[in-house]
C-alpha cells in the first residue's frame, strides 16, 4: 500500500517536473535569437501540393543567412523534391557549395486516412523524426500544416526539454485556412514560438497569432 502510494507520488512529481520544464521551454522563445551568431539553420517541412508551394515561397524570401536549409518531406511525396531542387538551384547561383539537404520521413497521415490509424502512423513518423532532429539540431523549424510537421515539431521540443538545444518553432498557417485552423495548427498554436495566420478572422479567434496579411 505504501509502495503504491510512493509510486503514485513519484509519478506525480515526474509529471509536475515535466510540465514545469515544458512551460519553461515554451516561454523561452522570445529570448532565443540564433541570428546573433551570423546564420540560422532551418528545418523546413514540405508537405504535399499546396503546402509545398507555400513553404517554398517563404523559404525563397529568406536571406542567405538562413543556412544550412534542411527540407523534410513525406516519403510518399515525389513532387516536392523536384520543386525544392529547382528553388535551391535558383538561390544558389553564386555559391558553389550546396548548403541544403533533403530528408524523407514516413507520412503521418494520408489524405482522407481514418483518424484511428492516423495516431499509429503519427507515432511511426515520430520514431523517424526524433533521430533526424537530434542529428540536424536546427535553430528553427518552419512548417505550415501538413501532418508531417507535428512529429517533427514534437521532436524539436524534446531537444529543448532535455536541455540540449532550444529549437524555435515557426508555424505559418496555410492560406487555405480562413476561418478555422488545420489540425496541425490547433496543436501547434500552443507549442510554437511564432504562429502566423494569413486572414484577419483567424487573428480574431487566435489572439496569440501573428497577422500581417497574406504572406505567400
Amino acid at each position: 500500500m505504501a509502495v503504491l502510494l510512493g509510486v503514485l507520488c513519484g509519478l506525480c512529481l515526474v509529471i509536475a517536473l515535466f510540465a514545469v520544464r515544458l512551460l519553461a521551454v515554451l516561454r523561452s522563445g522570445p529570448r532565443c535569437r540564433p541570428g546573433a551568431k551570423g546564420s540560422v539553420s532551418v528545418l523546413a517541412v514540405a508537405g504535399s501540393g499546396g503546402h509545398t508551394t507555400e513553404i517554398l515561397r517563404l523559404m525563397e524570401s529568406l536571406s542567405a543567412s538562413y543556412s544550412p536549409r534542411h527540407y523534410v518531406i513525406a516519403d510518399t511525396d515525389h513532387m516536392s523534391e523536384d520543386k525544392i531542387c529547382t528553388l535551391e538551384a535558383a538561390k544558389n547561383t553564386s555559391d558553389l557549395q550546396k548548403n541544403f539537404t533533403i530528408h524523407h520521413i514516413p507520412r503521418s497521415r494520408e489524405v482522407r486516412q481514418a483518424w484511428s490509424s492516423s495516431v499509429l502512423s503519427t507515432a511511426n513518423a515520430l520514431l523517424y523524426s526524433v533521430p533526424l532532429v537530434f542529428r540536424l539540431r536546427p535553430d528553427m523549424v518552419l512548417c505550415n500544416g501538413p501532418g508531417t510537421c507535428v512529429p517533427l515539431c514534437v521532436a524539436a521540443l524534446f531537444l529543448g526539454l532535455l536541455g540540449l538545444k532550444k529549437v524555435l518553432i515557426v508555424y505559418v498557417e496555410s492560406i487555405c485556412r480562413v476561418e478555422t485552423l488545420s489540425l496541425s495548427g490547433k496543436i501547434l498554436y500552443y507549442l510554437s514560438d511564432y504562429f502566423f495566420v494569413q486572414w484577419s478572422t483567424l487573428k480574431d479567434k487566435y489572439p496569440g497569432s501573428i497577422y500581417m496579411g497574406r504572406i505567400v
Binding site: 540564433p34 503546402h51 524570401s61 543567412s65 480562413v178 500581417m212 496579411g213 505567400v216
Partner: protein, 182 residues
C-alpha cells in the same frame, strides 16, 4: 463571345478544368470520383454554348482521357501530367481548377479568370474556406461538381477583381528582426 482557339485541360476525377476559350482543367492529388462520365459531356456542351472552342485537360491519374474528337465542335487536348502548366494557364481565357492553394495562387497570380470546383469529400473541406473568401473578395467564381454545368452556363467573368500577390518579404523582415539577423 468571338471565335477563339482555346485549350481546355481536364483533370480526370477532380473536377478541374481550365478553359482557354478553352478550359484548362487542373486536378489536385486527391481523387474526386463522384463526378460521373456524363458530367464532362454536359460541361463541354455548356462551354461550347459560351463560345469556348478548345479545351486543354490535365487528367492526372483519372480514368478518363478524352481524345481530340470526343466532343464535336470542341478541340480537346488532354494529357496526364506536365512539369509545369504555367504556359497553359497564361494562354487560357478561363481556368477551371480544384481549390488547392497552389492551383489558385498560380492562376490568380497569372491574372487569369478562375472557376474553382471544390472537392467535398476531403476529411474537412478547408478548401471551401479559401474558395469562399476569394469569391467574397471577387477574385474567382466557385462551384461544386454538381453545380459545375449550371455555373458554366450562367457565369459572368466581368465581375472578377484583380488579385494582388502575397508578400513573403514581410515574413522575412519579421523573422530577421525576431531572430536577431542583421
Amino acid at each position: 463571345f468571338g471565335d477563339y482557339d482555346d485549350c481546355v485541360r481536364y483533370r480526370g476525377n477532380d473536377e478541374i478544368r481550365r478553359a482557354h476559350r478553352g478550359c484548362d482543367v487542373t486536378r489536385g492529388r486527391s481523387e474526386l470520383p463522384q463526378c460521373s462520365d456524363a458530367v464532362p459531356t454536359l460541361c463541354l456542351k455548356a462551354l461550347l454554348s459560351r463560345g469556348y472552342k478548345q479545351l486543354v485537360l490535365q487528367v492526372g491519374r483519372g480514368s478518363l482521357l478524352p481524345g481530340p474528337d470526343s466532343c464535336p465542335g470542341m478541340r480537346v487536348h488532354s494529357f496526364r501530367f506536365k512539369d509545369s502548366i504555367a504556359a497553359d494557364i497564361r494562354g487560357a481565357d478561363l481556368v477551371i481548377s480544384h481549390a488547392g492553394a497552389g492551383s489558385c495562387l498560380e492562376t490568380l497570380g497569372a491574372g487569369r479568370p478562375l472557376l474553382v470546383v471544390v472537392n467535398d469529400r476531403l476529411m474537412d473541406n478547408h478548401q471551401l474556406e479559401l474558395a469562399r473568401q476569394l469569391h467574397a473578395d471577387s477574385h474567382l467564381l466557385y462551384c461544386t461538381c454538381s453545380t459545375l454545368t449550371e455555373t458554366l452556363k450562367t457565369m459572368d467573368l466581368s465581375v472578377l477583381e484583380p488579385f494582388s500577390p502575397g508578400q513573403p518579404e514581410n515574413f522575412a523582415t519579421f523573422m530577421d528582426q525576431a531572430l536577431g539577423i542583421h
